[in-house]
């Protein structure tokens, strides 16, 4: 009984963990995107309440934008582009030389009238998919989403299968025992 309990606990933990990691990964991507847009929205020149965020994004002050919307786009872009030199910093956050240069490039491309997607594509063409925080879904990366689902599915099947079987066995044994008892009474 004790063994059964621990095994069940183990399987349940696995299921919960895999489901949790799956949803966590998703929640994080959405949170990242919404956070970056929030931050970009908060740093409009008219908003003095967000002075802390403004200080963090001081580099944007080096670049003049005629349009407040362009400024937001610039801040959003530098948040979603990853610095290729540093392991896990976006180019907004990093002080590496390459991050400086990439920010300037983003600015230049925007001044040329390129769209957000064009700027991202420009960087991806040079630095690969690594440079953009949103991974592309292709035949290799699809497993990032599929593996947890498949794993959770298998675990669920195992769980259901294991739970059902002893019950039917017990029931039949009990019925046989009952029949036997009835027969004995007769």
């Amino acid at each position: 009984m004790k063994r059964f309990f621990f095994r069940t606990l183990f399987f349940r933990t696995l299921i919960v963990a895999s489901l949790a990691s799956f949803f966590h990964a998703h929640a994080q991507t959405t949170a990242d995107v919404s956070a970056s847009t929030d931050q970009a929205a908060a740093t409009s020149p008219s908003d003095t309440a967000a002075s802390d965020t403004l200080a963090a994004n001081d580099y944007a002050e080096n670049y003049a934008f005629d349009d407040a919307h362009d400024r937001k786009t610039f801040l959003a872009l530098t948040e979603v582009l990853r610095c290729p030199m540093c392991q896990n910093q976006n180019i907004a956050d990093s002080d590496a030389m390459i991050a400086h240069d990439m920010r300037r490039k983003v600015y230049q491309l925007m001044q040329q009238g390129q769209s957000e997607q064009q700027v991202i594509d420009f960087m991806k063409e040079r630095y690969g998919d690594f440079v953009y925080y949103q991974p592309p879904v292709n035949s290799v990366t699809i497993w990032l989403w599929l593996t947890p689902v498949i794993f959770a599915g298998i675990m669920l099947l195992v769980f259901i299968y294991r739970k059902k079987k002893p019950q039917t066995g017990d029931l039949q044994a009990k019925l046989a025992r009952a029949n036997q008892l009835l027969k004995e009474d007769e």
Partner: protein, 195 residues
């Protein structure tokens, strides 16, 4: 009984699989990435010589010969350390061209004058060795960005058709040269021999 045994082994198998996966991760280099520049043509450029701003270079420098493009700067310590090794390669007959970039020279970031940088370059090259046929000065680091350069030193192998065949991030040493460069060079020479 057999069935029960196989079930109780399952967690162990999963655990071992996880161990194997994580163990492999210990030896993977997070900086190791496939460069996007490889097998593309060298991005078009027109840049001055580092030492003489009246001399300009463009993509014709690759015509007809295999070239090693070494991305470097005096501000980079590892670059200075690999200079003697590069000099050895030059003595073996390889053509090495420097792609020089310096953020301090950019009025937007630094305060250095071109005169001072030239002086520092001369000092460094006379101290550690000068493997370069010439140095291209990537003034605004646009070409470095087009190449997907993330820092220095980096070395690119460009064939006689101006196509990038190899992009190495980090310093060039005997191990890298034998393991990464020589096989590709042999390939290039083999196709040239056929033609």
């Amino acid at each position: 009984m057999m069935k029960k045994l196989s079930y109780s082994i399952l967690p162990l198998v999963l655990f071992l699989a996880l161990c194997f996966f994580l163990y492999q991760g210990l030896f993977s280099d997070p900086r190791e990435r496939d460069s996007s520049a490889v097998s593309k043509s060298f991005p078009s450029f027109k840049l001055p010589d580092l030492m003489d701003e009246t001399v300009y270079y463009d993509n014709t420098i690759f015509d007809g010969q295999m070239t090693l493009i070494n991305v470097w700067g005096v501000w980079c310590v590892t670059c200075a350390i690999e200079l003697p090794y590069l000099e050895g390669l030059r003595d073996q007959g390889y053509r090495i061209v420097g792609l020089y970039y310096d953020q301090d020279l950019d009025p937007q970031y630094g305060t250095k004058t071109l005169q001072r940088v030239r002086q520092e370059v001369k000092q460094t090259l006379s101290k550690y060795g000068d493997p370069y046929q010439f140095n291209i000065f990537d003034v605004y680091r646009d070409t470095a960005l087009d190449l997907g350069v993330t820092g220095a030193p980096e070395t690119l192998l460009v064939d006689a058709q101006g196509v990038i065949r190899l992009h190495h991030l980090g310093d060039l040493n005997e191990r890298v040269w034998r393991g990464k460069f020589l096989p590709i060079i042999a390939q290039i020479q083999a196709t040239q021999a056929v033609e």
